[in-house]
Symmetry: C2
Subunit: 239 residues, 2 copies
DNA sequence: GCAGAAATTTGACCTGCATCAATACAGAAA
DNA sequence: TTTCTGTATTGATGCAGGTCAAATTTCTGC
């Protein structure tokens, strides 16, 4: 794990429309540059933080791709989310001053370290940032509710369709193709996130492929019929 | 739905050790009394807010019991949580200025209305309150991660055991028995929360009962062997 | 009190996904 | 290149929990 302390700046980061600086004015942006004191590189397979670690900072992902996961005392692992550039992780640590999950880089990554005390201090000064922080936390809560719906009510095909649609939608917001993507995670990790076994993930991919909805080659996926995916996920939206 | 506008006070509320005022000093408490402008009664079966409603306020539950639930466009419903006195609901509305789920009273209830703009204003003034609000949101995120673990990895018996243990633990923190409880929700609502059908919930209750772990009579439940429940939920913690 | 509705329990059967197992494939190191 | 290792695919079989159905209990309104 490398720790770099060179000066960084939100004000000219190309993620500023997605990430923490979103909606801030020039003055606020410059203040934020002070909060985001350092960056940190995390190489593939390494953890940014671990369950039990003392919580000090939130992290804005600058490059790379993460998974967060909790594990039960008997070792079963649940992936709770996949995060990409511009997304904020570490919110789970605020309640108890200790992190409650592991954040693992699925590819070489770099994050901006935002000491939470500084974020709070700046939030008190700038209502826009305060509201933004609240929105980020609330968005996470809403996302989690969506995952509960997936896990509690949806069948394997619906889960995978929703997963793929969500992924391309987020990638598209970052300037990537709306139809092609390279999965950064294994079948097992997808399965863990979606509450199914890796074999079922693989079979469901194959099924979509046979039906001409997608083209799959290992980690590479091309969505041929986005409407068909939407119809699987939510039959009503086409009724 | 009744709307009452009489003066209320956190400063002498008997929930102040659990609820929003937790950890505030005298001065802060008195300020909070101004934020919590009104109370609102919600009778059994009515909704406090609905998916799509404009978001203005958080709500602290004073008395009664709520469920929150999201529903898919085709009508499937997922209960995302059960909330009791002293807990804060409405956080889902912050991201988009619109609520993202329904909050339904499972028994006659009363909530304290906290206009979010006022909460934010006061947070800027009092770091203790700011931190507390952040902790409340973070706690919800951590709770949701736990539900994901339940739904993604646990079997029916484990889910129900975890559910019961969580419920009595929270009731106990409010001065109720650690072994006896009256469920405020139907088998179907429990099932929706835990991702199983009402018949499975019922069967699992019966199984626990046959094994002498609990005593059940409709909504009334007595936990006879808490350790056995813990062992089901988490076999390792006794190994 | 009674009638009807709603919730719960229990049984019989079925299915979607898990499990077990074998094979194929791709990237990394030698 | 070859081997090794982790990942992915595919097939065969089993079972936890879903589905359907019927009986029982409790709740509600009159």
């Amino acid at each position: 794990m490398l720790l770099e302390t060179y000066k960084v700046a939100c004000s000219n980061c190309n993620l500023r429309e997605l990430c923490m600086p979103m909606g801030l004015n020039q003055e606020e942006l410059q203040k934020l540059d002070d909060v985001v004191a350092t960056r940190r590189k995390v190489s593939q397979g390494e953890t940014l933080y671990r369950n039990g670690d003392y919580f000090t900072s939130l992290y804005a992902i600058r490059t790379g791709f993460f998974k967060t996961c909790v594990s039960s005392p008997d070792g079963r692992e649940q992936v709770t989310g996949f995060q990409m550039a511009g997304e904020i992780i570490g919110l789970d640590g605020i309640t108890s001053d200790h992190h409650n999950c592991n954040a693992v880089a699925l590819e070489d990554a770099e994050v901006c370290v935002m000491p939470f005390a500084d974020v709070e201090e700046m939030s008190r000064e700038f209502p826009v940032l305060q509201r933004h922080v609240h929105k980020i936390m609330s968005r996470e809560i809403v996302r989690d509710q969506g995952v509960m719906m997936l896990l509690g009510n949806m069948r394997a095909e619906e889960r995978l369709a929703a997963f793929l649609l969500n992924l391309v939608q987020r990638l598209n917001a970052r300037g990537f193709s709306r139809s092609e993507l390279v999965l950064r995670m294994t079948r097992e990790e997808i399965g863990s996130y979606l509450g199914m076994k890796l074999e079922t993930v693989s079979r469901t991919f194959s099924k979509f492929s046979e039906e001409g909805i997608i083209e799959v080659k290992q980690r590479w996926v091309k969505i041929l019929k986005p409407d068909a995916l939407k119809r699987i996920f939510d039959p009503e939206c086409f009724s």
